[in-house]
Symmetry: C2
Subunit: 151 residues, 2 copies
Amino acid sequence: MTIATTAAEKQLDLAALRNVPGFVIRLIQLKFFDGFYETFAELGLTPATYAILMLVRDNPGVVPSSIAALLRLQLPNLTKILHQLEDAGLVKRSRSKIDRRAIEITLTSKGEKLMRDAVRLTAPYNRRMLAPLNETERSTLIGLLNRICPF
Amino acid sequence: MTIATTAAEKQLDLAALRNVPGFVIRLIQLKFFDGFYETFAELGLTPATYAILMLVRDNPGVVPSSIAALLRLQLPNLTKILHQLEDAGLVKRSRSKIDRRAIEITLTSKGEKLMRDAVRLTAPYNRRMLAPLNETERSTLIGLLNRICPF
DNA sequence: TATTGTTATACTCTATAACTATA
DNA sequence: TATAGTTATAGAGTATAACAATA
């Protein structure tokens, strides 16, 4: 006989952990990541590149240090990703004329097209992840999450 | 002059990303992890070991495959952690008499004491992470999160 | 034949230190 | 002297394959 591996089968007591938001949020985040790859893998996007490209789309000329601070990435790690995105022809890096240490990041037309495709997949993805909630509850959740989001 | 690195300083447009719950949840999760280490590092706990030990506390005799399935850990990775917890004297591993392939995990008295200490820190930690919300909003958020949590 | 747990290993993500060029 | 970005590297977390013991 197989040992049951789901909470329901095993009748595990999860009451304590369910009241630890950090634990619940971690499981939800894993669910969102799994769902993200199911939805966006066909575009070659990861959660990190999606966020970076969307940030660049809405803030053309943004510099790596700003991107890193907002997305909580270390600059060395972001540098590598930006070079990959440049190699893929999705972003352009150009020296700032104001501060020649800084690199201004913008989307290429290929990058813009990719993000248009990504945007089309975003609403269905969000709906699928929040499927257990009705429209009002989704809005409430998004509002509360933004209140505790660190920016 | 220093290039501003916070969203507020740079006046970055984040409207699109704020409406992507997966993105907001990722940032919140990083905040919870940072806060967790600030609070629980003195006890030597990580988010993973906290969850494992709490699960074992409430479900003595639970087997590794059940823990792994619930916490979304791969069994080989959990095996290593469980051996570390055993070496630290926090859990006991004993062969199941029903299925001699299975290992039943229980807390030692040292493990029980550690989790009593951890529980004392949990409520203040949760309150600190949810500080921007009032009591009603915290309950609403926890309820909604549990609705979309995958178990 | 399938499952539990283990070992070994590889891969990704993240973090840190040292360097350059610019300010 | 400090900052932006880069390079190299190390560490943690996660994933996969092969195996022994048991069902």
